[in-house]
Symmetry: C2
Subunit: 256 residues, 2 copies
């Protein structure tokens, strides 16, 4: 059975997609069978893995709204053992359509259960909100990975995110645990970055992954080539950090 992680934080631009795609790529490179599920209408994980989001048909939208089996949308990528369940822009209208559906929070969990045996890890990339798409990801997963950009505004949203995780655990998914917080876009030249790291470590203690992801322009260039960092710039600081994070995730079972 796969270990299913949701990568979530309603604050925008904190590194959710970058974390989901690059950790998945390093796990696949370490001989694990990995699936990335893109439930963000922006479909950034889809294009970061070289798939054209505008020509994807069907996509995760059809899994949510028409209940087609997820195996019908899963596509291999250019990297061995790394598969993708792609998103497309039409997903932007899904949340309104899902509001009236029965067991609307469980759609993704039910979709993933028939294929979970075929993977070692499944990573669900979520949009920057706490709406039904993200709730579906939190209901389907065992652990949530929370990227936290080393700046002030992203810190503010953590209390709200923890509150939502607690609600999902109490009402929808008793197994939901926090796999860990990942500090991203760390810039050692600024005191703000250092303060944020201290603050997050003080509050969340051993829920914080030891690996810190540095700000690295190679990481922001890689998606324009449709490649994970492990393929685009494997010797860059960003690549080495995501490789170390992938190893840390492999060692750390989801925290009980």
């Amino acid at each position: 059975m796969a270990v299913i992680y949701a990568v979530a934080n309603q604050k925008g631009g904190v590194g959710k997609t970058t974390t989901a795609v690059n950790v998945a790529a390093y796990l696949a490179a370490a001989d694990k069978r990995v699936l990335v599920v893109d439930v963000d209408p922006q479909a950034n994980a889809t294009s970061s893995l070289g798939i054209d989001k505008n020509s994807v048909r069907p996509s995760i939208y059809n899994v949510f709204i028409e209940n087609i089996p997820i195996r019908e949308i899963i596509t291999p990528t250019a990297w061995e053992r790394l598969h993708l369940a792609p998103s497309s822009p039409i997903l932007a209208g899904a949340e309104v359509e899902m509001v009236g559906m029965m067991a609307r929070e469980h759609l993704l969990r039910k979709a993933l259960s028939p294929i979970s045996r075929q993977y070692d890890y499944i990573f669900v990339d979520t949009p920057p909100s706490l709406g039904l798409l993200t709730i579906n990801a939190l209901t389907a997963c065992q652990g949530v990975i929370i990227p936290v950009q080393c700046e002030y505004l992203p810190l503010e949203g953590l209390a709200q995110l923890m509150h939502t995780i607690r609600l999902v655990r109490e009402n929808l998914n008793p197994n939901l645990r926090i796999a860990g917080l990942v500090l991203t876009m760390y810039d050692p030249r600024t005191s703000l970055s250092k303060q944020v790291v201290q603050e997050v470590r003080k509050h969340f203690r051993d829920y914080v992954f030891r690996t810190i992801i540095p700000r690295s322009v190679r990481l922001s260039e890689a998606p324009s080539y449709g490649e994970p960092i492990s393929s685009y710039a494997p010797k860059s600081f960003g690549a080495l950090a995501y490789k170390a994070l992938a190893e840390e995730i492999m060692k750390k079972a989801v925290k009980a």
Copy 2:
């Protein structure tokens, strides 16, 4: 009558809040009466102006859901002529509640019309999505200001945003124009930033504001002090850029 701008882009972390708050602050410093309306559940614009989002009652949530007059939530800030209609985390549940309401896309437009005469400018800060809160902002405004971070992934979402703007103009707000695209977090040391600027200027020509906002750590520090950059670090590069952008906005009537 106030000129009403929505600051919108469904891509997360591109500088929407930073742009809304700092342009508003410089317009107020230039003797204009300015209102910032925060319709993001993260309430980052609220805390960036020194207001505690967790003790705000009532907030924009009550304007949307209980139809209370917006004047009951408007609060002055520490800066003269700069007012705020604050948000609070409870807004996260509003979109689901609004789905079944009559004329749900027009709630903000109706709320703003009685007070529009008291201001020269109104800036609406939106969440990173194209849901009902952002649609309300696009329906209430005359012009939309689109921050574009100088990186690859934010470029991808522009087509989808333009599509949504067209739909709103055809179905909800015939006056809706694009006031301009603002290039943000520009880093002259990376070729990626330069490529993005060229790409955006080529596609959107004179819809792109001349002022480019540089990456400047002072801009990311200011919110932790609850101050706009005009007060926190008025001589920084980020401050000078936002001051120039405010002047450009004052000169440029909303593009017909």
